[in-house]
Symmetry: C3
Subunit: 116 residues, 3 copies
């Protein structure tokens, strides 16, 4: 069985809905093929990892995708830039020191890159 | 002779002109080197696969690039989301069940990804 | 010691600040690991390779990153489209005939692609 690895990159808050639709379609479209999916948010996109009226529906979708195995990751440089306290982030989000380093390293081990 | 494979990703209607210029420049710049080019449209970008006053000039350019071997592909999830009847799509466009799956699978067989 | 190669793609002037922040974070985050970084600008993004009041702060940042080894490249098709005289471009920018060809060829020799 082939195995695919995908890293989705998001750096704009207004792309979350589109991106999560892409992730859902990927999961639904892969049938029996195994796919590993990571969503890497940097810049202003990390703001939707914090519960607020704007991010509410988005976070519900993230949660349902996370249950299906999708990994959500935040760039710590971005968290600091937007003064976001790590304690306020939704619990299943992992934090990496630099999102851009994550994008490079994951691609270097065979992840394909998609930027919705 | 080296062979290159490229998949262009578009998900915004207002990027079509830029993307098609990129494709044209790629064809012109590759000289004798063989290049295989696919344009994958998902989300709202599929709307320009249907003839309408806005898409008219764009479709003419697509057609001239298609004659030179460029493949144009539509995401069926997007066609359904925008209630686009397959019969109304320009004839040379191929349809895949999920654009995002196409992006993953093509990259996994050596296509490089460009998102104008 | 592993070596990473990264090509950043920019085709919108309003993405320069974000892109250069990404480049800075990548350099800072790679520690002892060697990383080769190229920034490829095409379409309207090449306008910020010319000194003007809007690009002034951006060019200062480019210069400091160039001193650290980051390569800045302009698409000649874009320079011609925007009627930019090569003599007016900041001195450390290299020019390639077609930015999109550069994106393909660099990825084909192992560069990973990031589009902020």
């Amino acid at each position: 069985m082939p195995e695919y690895k995908v890293i989705f990159h998001i750096d704009e808050t207004n792309k979350w809905e589109l991106l999560l639709g892409n992730v859902r379609n990927l999961l639904n479209g892969m049938d029996n093929e195994k796919v590993i999916i990571e969503v890497l948010a940097n810049s202003e996109a990390v703001k939707y990892y914090v519960k607020n009226p704007d991010s509410d529906a988005i976070i519900n979708t993230m949660e349902s995708l996370n249950i299906k195995g999708v990994k959500f990751v935040a760039c710590n440089n971005a968290l600091m830039a937007y003064k976001i306290n790590k304690d306020n982030i939704i619990h299943f989000v992992e934090i990496v020191p630099a999102g851009v380093v994550e994008l490079v390293k994951k691609q270097s081990i065979g992840y394909v890159y998609i930027k919705p």
